[in-house]
């Protein structure tokens, strides 16, 4: 079954609006408050309040990287672009910054709720994908480590199968994983460094 949206989680959630005082901020605040969020408006920089926030709405028209306490694409929470000018350069910047959803200005009577849900879902999906890619990458790298360790053992006159069996025995004796044993054979904690050298 498809995963449902966790709508109940929005109650008491905190939203920060990074935008100069404006009618759009008032309209957006009204919408978010009606939905049940706690809203704070900040300008010109996103400071410590971002640490306690669950969502950031940011001005895509006059925004720039230095306003944010994190680097482009590294936001720890969902971000929603408030787009007035649909100039490609501004949209590109919003995307590079890591917008998970957008609302068009002027913000009126609606649109905040779907932006929240879409941003949250896109953020979760992105984070899940990143974690999955990191895990696959790690396993891919470890496979290289295992191959290298088997080759190192085989270089001492063993067949490939014997070297493989020996590695398995060592892992069991050391009570560590097969991959960790391979890394140890390649030299202490060198497994990771080794990966990086060959990365």
């Amino acid at each position: 079954m498809k995963r449902g949206l966790r709508i109940q989680n929005l109650g008491g959630a905190r939203a920060v609006i990074l935008h100069r005082p404006h009618a759009t901020v008032a309209a957006l605040t009204r919408q978010l408050t009606a939905i049940g969020l706690v809203v704070e408006q900040v300008w010109p920089d996103l400071g410590a309040e971002a640490l306690a926030a669950d969502f950031v709405f940011f001005d895509a028209d006059t925004g720039h990287d230095a306003q944010f306490p994190w680097g482009p694409g590294e936001s720890p929470i969902p971000m929603i672009a408030l787009i007035g000018s649909e100039a490609p350069g501004r949209i590109e910047w919003s995307l590079q910054l890591g917008a998970h959803a957008q609302m068009l200005k002027p913000v009126g009577d609606n649109g905040a709720y779907s932006a929240l849900l879409i941003a949250r879902a896109a953020f979760d999906a992105q984070r899940e994908l990143s974690a999955e890619i990191a895990e696959l990458r790690r396993r891919l790298d470890e496979r290289r480590t295992v191959v290298q360790a088997v080759m190192k053992l085989a270089a001492r006159g063993k067949s490939e199968a014997e070297a493989y069996a020996q590695l398995r025995k060592m892992a069991m004796a050391w009570r560590i994983s097969f991959e960790e044993a391979a890394a140890r054979i390649l030299g202490g904690d060198g497994g990771a460094d080794d990966r990086r050298n060959r990365g």
Partner: protein, 362 residues
């Protein structure tokens, strides 16, 4: 000399949901009459009517006509969510307000709409809370193919699954169809503990009739064994259903004869009528003694009206929660819970609803 204030009425007096429109219209007109006869009021309300005739594409133009061609800034009207969504941009443009007196699926809090009937934390969720221990948690979900059916069943599924229950089937029918055979077959095959009926109009009537027939030949499908639940059925549709509604269980803020104090002490034909009545009375209360207030946008108007029934953030109202069953042709209240504030986005914890309410033994 009383102020003369025009007020729009936008109800379809023909078409598939005309019974509901008529109930709302009756309530609104009764409130207008009551306001006009009230010596405490410094105003007289003058209805300006437009009839979209059940055609969803006529709502926005007719609402626009009311707001542009008359002095009315407040419109009482709309039955379906679809028509309500159609008029909101018009209201925004003209600075008007819609007073909406029909139960709906929630997830809206327009700056230009007041919602005086129930949303899911006031109908569906208490109804499911009540039905689980009484009948079980294995459900069949039915609905018409549009937002009301889809969203009600989505929320029901989430609630049922979270409670450890099961959804045995979910089936939608095109609006207006009376072809319910396959749905009845699926219910017979899956034998649920209850059926949530989010069908509307003729489909709903046809379904109730066919299900009643099924119950006559198979005891698993009598109201006592597997009831049909509804969150939008009221007395106003009884003339179209006849005996077929016998045993139906519905949630709502009012059933005929109930004394909850909501919408005043009036005797209403249905909660639709009561909700429209409450809407117009509240509007009049907000305008009374404040010349020019009828031109103010809703947010400003609410800012002056301390002690009113409308939540300033969500524009929803606090409503009693009643659960009633059709017995011998009339709704009999079987459960009465404390009044609950409308929570359209379901973002507030449901403490009120879980508090023990008054149980009516009948």
């Amino acid at each position: 000399m009383r102020r003369r204030i025009e007020i729009g009425l936008l109800y379809s007096r023909s078409g598939s949901y005309a019974l509901i429109s008529e109930a709302c219209r009756t309530g609104a007109l009764a409130a207008i009459a009551a306001v006009n006869a009230d010596p405490e009021m410094d105003l007289s309300l003058v209805p300006v009517e437009r009839d979209p005739g059940g055609n969803v594409d006529l709502y926005a133009p007719l609402c626009d006509e009311i707001l542009r061609q008359t002095a009315a800034r407040h419109v009482v009207g709309c039955v379906t969510s679809w028509s309500r969504k159609e008029v909101i941009p018009t209201l925004e443009n003209a600075g008007g307000t819609l007073w909406y007196a029909v139960p709906y699926e929630g997830f809206e809090a327009s700056d230009h709409v007041v919602y005086t009937h129930a949303c899911p934390n006031q109908h569906l969720l208490p109804l499911l809370d009540w039905v689980f221990p009484a009948y079980g948690r294995r459900a069949f979900l039915s609905g018409s193919n549009y937002i009301w059916g889809w969203e009600m069943n989505r929320l029901a599924r989430e609630t049922i699954v979270t409670a450890g229950g099961q959804v045995l089937g979910e089936r939608y029918l095109p609006i207006g169809t009376r072809d319910v055979g396959r749905m009845i077959e699926e219910i017979r095959a899956t034998a649920p503990d209850f059926i949530l009926n989010s069908l509307i109009g003729p489909s709903s009537y046809a379904f109730l009739a066919a299900y009643r027939d099924l119950g006559r030949t198979d005891a698993r499908f009598t109201p006592g064994a597997c009831p049909v639940l509804s969150c939008n059925m009221t007395e106003c549709e009884m003339p179209a259903m006849g005996d077929e509604s016998e045993g139906l269980i519905a949630a709502g803020p009012y059933f005929r004869g109930a004394k909850t104090g909501w919408a005043g002490a009036g005797k209403f034909g249905s909660s639709h009528e009561a909700a429209a009545f409450a809407a117009v009375r509240e509007l009049a209360r907000l305008l009374n003694g404040r010349p020019g207030a009828e031109l103010e946008p809703l947010a400003k108007l609410l800012g002056h009206g301390a002690g009113g029934i409308i939540d300033r953030q969500t524009h929803h109202t606090t409503l009693p929660v009643l659960i009633a069953q059709v017995r011998n042709g009339r709704f009999v209240v079987v459960e009465s819970q404390a009044a609950v504030a409308g929570d359209p986005y379901l973002t507030h914890p449901r403490v009120e609803a879980r508090a023990p309410g008054l149980r009516v033994v009948s």
